[in-house]
């Protein structure tokens, strides 16, 4: 079998990818501009012996997803800003108890109800820091319908591999954009399964430290009768307040991500080798930036683009390397300035860092990015 071409909407590609990745449980609550994902899942899941349920709110949606994942299913939910806010407590629960789950957050104008049908990138920081306490999380940020497909599959794989919640972050434009997508042939898709305990191991500890810091998971019914709690817990899963054990428990779930960066990081770089001006952008803003780089290069201006596909953890090293010889860095984003804080932290004083922001519910056009780069170059 060979791959096939399809005309797909971003949200539909997301749902198809989830099923292809092995997702068999979806719980959600309708919200623009993400609802097409739930609608598609409600049609497709029964056909693969999976379960779709529309819950009473987003708090319940993520709770049900975590419950299903604890039962052994690959599970996800999809939402937008207001719902993502409601999910934060249970997102922290999943991070703390190390339960795999995928959360699609289609960004719209905010804060509050904001502009439901307009795109934005205002949840970049919330996706990293939304729940309370220090916690591990992975966030991926696709920039095309094709990439929504690929990154949704990768989100499931990362979540199952590292037992961590993974957020797929894109915006209303990509959600509703219809593009030609090449779907891989059935059976060729790489999917990752959780490390499962057999249920018969002697002295099994559900949070025992392993070489890669990812503990082996036990499925209810298989023999190990375990306790799962959002309280700080020891290797055997029961609560502790002993300082050394508490510190160890938190540090392990944080190190689990840091130490496995090689498997998690993903950055696209365009023309950065000789770039005097580096643009850093994600999602839909990065598409405009890509076009801006072409325009600038044709004028002889040495511009380049760094696009974090894995947005969190933030690609410090790749960005540092790409900006080592740059005199200016531009961060176009559809918010009042979020990504720029990370870029400033990484770039430090080695180059001038400028922002280009838009909060009116409209995308940043390539021409605006190109113009801003010209100004930065002229300033030098």
């Amino acid at each position: 079998m060979s791959s096939s071409l399809h005309s797909l909407q971003g949200n539909k590609a997301c749902a198809l990818a989830a099923i292809a990745a092995g997702c068999r449980f979806f719980a959600g609550y309708p919200i623009t501009p993400s609802s097409e994902i739930a609608e598609q899942m409600s049609r497709d899941l029964p056909r693969v012996d999976g379960v779709f349920v529309q819950m009473e709110d987003e708090i319940a949606s993520l709770a049900a997803v975590i419950g299903a994942s604890l039962g052994g299913s690959k599970a996800m939910t999809a939402t937008s800003g207001p719902g993502f806010s409601l999910m934060q407590e249970n997102l922290g629960f999943a991070a703390m108890t190390e339960v795999p789950c995928v959360i699609i957050n289609v960004m719209r104008g905010g804060p509050s109800t904001g502009m439901p049908t307009k795109p934005a990138q205002g949840d970049i920081m919330q996706a990293r820091w939304g729940t309370h306490g220090d916690h591990p999380i992975i966030v991926v940020a696709p920039a095309s319908v094709q990439e929504v497909y690929a990154e949704t599959i990768r989100a499931f794989n990362l979540s199952e591999r590292f037992r961590v919640p993974v957020v797929v972050l894109y915006d209303q434009i990509i959600a509703h954009l219809i593009e030609t997508v090449e779907l891989p042939p059935k059976g060729s898709i790489h999917t990752v399964e959780r490390k499962w305990a057999s249920g018969t191991e002697e002295g099994f500890k559900p949070y025992a430290e392993t070489d890669d810091l990812v503990p082996v998971m036990a499925r209810p019914g298989d023999g190990h009768r375990l306790h799962v709690t959002g309280l700080t817990h020891t290797e055997d899963g029961f609560p502790t307040q002993k300082p050394d054990l508490a510190a160890h428990a938190l540090n392990r779930i944080l190190d689990k991500i840091e130490r496995n960066r090689a498997e998690i990081d993903k950055v696209e770089q365009i023309e950065t080798k000789d770039a005097g001006t580096v643009i850093v952008a994600v999602g839909i803003a990065a598409r405009a930036a890509r076009r801006a780089v072409q325009m600038l290069r044709s004028e002889g201006i040495r511009a380049g683009l760094v696009r974090p596909v894995t947005l969190w953890p933030f690609p410090d090293e790749a960005l540092r390397a790409a900006t080592a010889n740059a005199r200016a860095v531009l961060v176009p984003e559809m918010n009042a300035g979020q990504l720029i804080h990370e870029v400033q932290r990484v770039v430090g004083g080695s180059a001038k860092v400028a922002g280009l922001n838009r909060v009116d519910g409209e995308p940043i056009p390539p021409a605006a990015i190109a113009q801003k780069v010209r100004e930065l170059v002229a300033d030098e």
């Binding site: 709770a63 419950g67 209810p220």
Partner: protein
Amino acid sequence: MNEIARVSDFDVKDYLRLNLMPHFMCPGCGHGIALRSLLWAVHELGIDRNKLAVVCGIGCSGRTGAYIDANTFHTTHGRPLAFATGLKLARPDLTVVVITGDGDCLAIGGNHLIHACRRNLDITCLMLNNEIYGMTGGQVSPTTSATRVTSTTPAGNTEPTFDACKLADAAGASFVGREVTRQAPALKNLIRAAIEHDGFSFVEVMSDCTEIYGRKNELGESAEMILSQKSDMVPDGLGNAPDQPFRPNRMATGILARHARPEYGRTYRERSAELRAGTEG
């Protein structure tokens, strides 16, 4: 088997994680009796502990689950029914029991309760009602009786209360019951019937917070508190629940409602199988 034989056959220690003892509960706390009654029912039903999932909320009630030698989940405040919904839909082979408190279930989790009742998945929900937020130091709850003193009603409670059983019944729970911790065998029987029931079962367990509620309201020693349950409760409630707007002085106990309604998980799976047959055929 008569009652005595069954009692002697059941040893609660067989069902507990004894390595976690001593437990956290205050002397005389009613939650321990509720826990014991649940395990007694599990024993009588012969449920395989590997297939038993106990999903708890946050509170003194929610902390009881950890002591059960089964698959136990201590979730987030108010949300155990939502976690249990996902677990039961994904794993219909598990017996799913939820342990929640009056605050967990009726305040922060009230929305999940009514929708769990409506959906009618085969989950048994035990709400341990001690009329107070025990864990956080005795604040008023949606079931605190009128005039009772709590840490946030220093002059006595003036808010009306919920009748949780009427609420569950109205929301569509296919099994509703209430029992007092004073009557452990009756409580065990009620929980047993609730687990056996095919659909969503709501059981309100009238428990006592001896340390905080009891002390603040000078309700006496724990023995006195539990004895007072006698005068407050009307046994055998089916069709007999007093028609009062708020929590009445005397509450009906026993099975209060039982309806034959399609269990949601099975309905969903049957409908899905039809769909698959349709697409493949």
